[in-house]
């Protein structure tokens, strides 16, 4: 039993940390967010050069062959820097779907381009009505000869506007919320009939709603098995939830550190506010929340690495804890920063907003606790 990182993992972590310290301070980040594209191509090229874009991919496609722990150490640092470049959308989601479900041809086509930084991707899984149920799919893919005709609308697509290619979930069979009958398609963003509405979220992310009107894609654009898209999506979302957990942990860690630092220096009533016992005990509570969240992150990562265990309960537990600890920690961070905490100028609120969006992504704490309960206490519990 050990919780040590390998030398390679330590190097990876330090490499991201160094980039953020040297080239991605908060002001720089805000400029990136405010820019036309909402990301920096130059940064993305740096990510490619430093090998970060290759981390989770198989060596045969030029990847680093990394596992969940490698992804974790990077995501935690991305969290600390509030990095908005679409690593999560392109590498974790889009790349993850290709790695887990793509044909050899698809992998050979896309993965090397992702690694070299020339392909940005997005995963369009959400619809207006679907909320947290990824099986709730109205977008239709109708067979037409050798091709499929896609019709529908996907919403809040992370990195939607910058992506060259979208992976779209569409219904090829079954009713609106059936588990069976969902198929994934690789759709070029510039395909005729694809229309984007680009907008911003409070955490600095650029997202898009994607309207598909009789978009024609060939059968070779099917990702994975026809009608069997759901298990593939679920597997990638499991990986992604752990990656988001790591990002959240980086943020919580940073929020606690900044709040601690602030209370050490900020004076009220003639003394540093960190000397007030009531505040000290509250900061002990946020420290404990963060440690407990870290434990569940490690637990989920270890579960992902073990091949014979089903990591589902651990991942649901992680999402629940990230939600709870996140609210606790950003709530205290804003409150203890007082008036400064509610200004747009300070980074505290921005960390909070990213945590909130992480919580909403792939289902909030209540949603995952419901799944945890069903798995653990339901009559059909394993």
């Amino acid at each position: 039993m050990n919780f040590d990182f390998t030398d390679e993992q330590v190097m990876l972590r330090d490499s991201v940390a160094r980039f953020i310290q040297d080239d991605y301070d908060f002001d720089t980040r805000c400029k990136v967010v405010a820019s036309e594209a909402g990301m920096s191509k130059a940064n993305w090229d740096t990510f490619a050069e430093l090998g970060w874009l290759s981390v989770p991919f198989a060596e045969e496609f030029g990847g680093f062959g990394g596992g969940p722990v490698d992804l974790m150490v990077m995501m935690e640092e991305f969290g600390k820097g509030l990095v908005v470049e679409p690593y999560f959308a392109t590498v974790v989601l889009f790349g993850g779907l290709l790695s887990r479900g793509g044909s050899e041809a698809q992998q050979g086509d896309f993965i090397p381009r992702i690694i070299e930084g020339s392909c940005l991707g997005a995963f369009a899984y959400l619809e207006r009505q679907s909320r947290f149920e990824i099986a709730d799919v109205q977008t239709r893919a109708t067979r037409q000869g050798e091709d499929y005709l896609l019709d529908g609308e996907k919403v809040v697509v992370f990195n939607g506007a910058n992506a060259d290619t979208l992976i779209v979930s569409a219904r090829t069979a079954g009713e609106q919320t059936d588990k069976h009958g969902i198929t994934l398609f690789l759709v070029p963003a510039n395909a005729p009939g694809v229309e984007l509405v680009d907008y911003r979220l409070m955490d600095g992310q650029r997202v898009a709603n994607v309207v598909l009107r009789e978009v024609v894609v060939g059968a070779s654009h099917v990702l994975g098995a026809v009608d069997e898209g759901l298990p593939l999506m679920q597997a990638v979302i499991s990986d992604a939830c752990v990656a988001l957990g790591a990002e959240a942990l980086g943020i919580m860690d940073r929020l606690n550190a900044k709040t601690l630092e602030y209370t050490r220096t900020r004076e009220q009533f003639g003394v540093a506010i960190g000397s007030f016992q009531a505040l000290q005990h509250r900061m002990v509570d946020t420290f404990m929340s963060c440690e407990q969240a870290r434990s569940l992150l490690y637990r989920a990562v270890c579960a992902l690495e073990k091949e014979d265990d089903d990591p589902a309960r651990d991942i649901h537990a992680l999402k629940v804890m990230i939600d709870k600890a996140g609210k606790h920690i950003y709530g205290e961070a804003i409150q203890l920063h007082g008036g400064m905490g509610i200004t747009d100028e300070l980074d505290i609120g921005h960390y909070a907003k990213r945590l909130m969006m992480i919580n909403a992504t792939f289902g909030n704490g209540d949603y995952h606790q419901g799944l945890f309960n069903a798995l653990s206490y339901g009559r059909d519990a394993a």
Binding site: T177, G341, I342, T343, D344, A360, Q369
Partner: protein
């Protein structure tokens, strides 16, 4: 013990409802919602209230107020919030007005009160300072006597609507001797005076309502001093208790909670409405039950104030619980909005992006973070209760 309404109370309720239905019209609401017309629309609305005689429910009749009973206040607030009618801007009517008629001289009363009632002056509040925060008495903005004027230097912060204001009421330091609470004076300052600079602060909700106000050798006539020099802390303290009581916002929270319930009956997950989810119901009732309690806590405080007491440390309880409830409702609405909680305002309507209230939820939640900080942070309120109520 009796909380039922008399026939007169019920008649009053009907009158309030009818008035809102007529006077708070669509055109007015549209102008209030538009940043460009906001200021004039607020003044317009407040003049309608003035014409009705309801602009100052709790001012003494001698000064143009209505002297409502606690029950009338309760009915008015409940109906106001239920109808989605915005409250008056408090700085003139609820804050400096009472200070002026309680502690001001006759000349000040004649000069300022009628203009406040008719919304001819827009007031803002100059209490907090950069660096002073909840330790209000540590303020450093100084006013030095020079002939018939004070010369004011320093800065105030978190000043809501300073960008619209004609006047600001300030706590300023006129002496550095003795306890820091002594040596503070209460000064009315014309915002159009030379040497005043207003710096906008964008807050966490991406809006601009807060400001920093700088004073560089601003000359203020001594005639604008309220009460005695160095005694301003006493006047401010009386005011703060009133402010805390109104921060509780029970009626507005009732409306906000009803809205959450309304949306939860329309928001689905996997084909099931959230209002039917037992866990969501539990979150809702956790808040609603606290709010039902706070409603009666407020009534108890109002009744005891009406029976002759000034609101004391119990107002701190109202402030703490009231703001906690507000934030809990805002948080629940964010949860309800799911992915859409993050949507920033665009030129597109919210519905175009796929959701009707995500962006509103975000703004309310984000700005709502301030409620536990301003008006004396909730931590300071706990210190007040520990000392004044528990005797610790």
């Amino acid at each position: 013990m009796d909380t039922s309404f008399s026939a007169e109370d019920l008649a009053f309720r009907d009158e309030v409802r009818a008035f809102f239905a007529e006077a708070y019209d669509d055109d007015l609401q549209a102008r209030l919602a538009d940043k460009a017309t906001f200021r004039e629309a607020v003044i317009d609305w407040q003049r309608r209230l003035h014409d009705k005689g309801w602009i100052a429910p709790n001012w003494p009749k001698a000064h143009g107020g209505a002297e409502w009973t606690p029950t009338q206040n309760f009915i008015y607030e409940t109906e106001r919030a239920a109808a989605g009618v915005r409250d008056v801007v408090p700085f003139g009517l609820k804050m400096v007005g009472p200070v002026i008629y309680t502690f001001g001289n006759d000349e000040q009363k004649e000069r300022f009160l009628p203009r406040i009632l008719r919304s001819e002056d827009w007031w803002c509040q100059g209490y907090s300072e950069p660096g002073a925060g909840s330790d209000l008495a540590a303020l450093k903005t100084r006013a030095e006597r020079d002939g018939d004027d004070y010369v004011v230097n320093g800065a105030k912060i978190w000043t809501t609507y300073a960008q619209y204001a004609d006047w600001i009421f300030c706590l300023v330091r006129t002496s550095n001797e003795g306890k820091k609470q002594n040596g503070i004076s209460f000064l009315l300052i014309d915002m159009h005076s030379p040497g005043i600079k207003v710096n906008p602060i964008v807050s966490i909700d991406n809006h601009h309502s807060l400001n920093e106000v700088e004073f560089n050798n601003v000359r203020v006539p001594v005639a604008n001093l309220i009460g005695e020099e160095h005694k301003g802390w006493t006047y401010a303290k009386a005011l703060l208790a009133h402010e805390r009581t109104s921060i509780a916002g029970v009626a507005d929270s009732k409306r906000a909670l009803a809205e959450v319930q309304h949306f939860a009956a329309r928001e689905q997950n996997g084909g099931r409405f959230l209002i039917d989810d037992p866990l969501f119901q539990q979150r809702l009732s956790d808040i609603e039950i606290e709010l039902m309690a706070l409603e009666y806590t407020e009534l108890r405080v109002l009744a005891s104030v009406a029976a002759g007491g000034a609101p004391g440390a119990e107002s701190s309880l109202l402030k703490i619980k009231g703001t906690e409830i507000q934030q809990a409702i805002q948080e629940l609405r964010m949860e309800l909005a799911g992915y859409y909680q993050g949507v920033l305002p665009t030129e597109l309507a919210q519905e175009v992006l796929g959701h009707s209230f995500g962006s509103d939820a975000r703004q309310a939640f984000m700005y709502g973070r301030a409620a536990t900080i301003y008006g004396g942070s909730n931590e300071v309120q706990k210190n007040i209760i520990a000392k004044a109520v528990l005797g610790l």
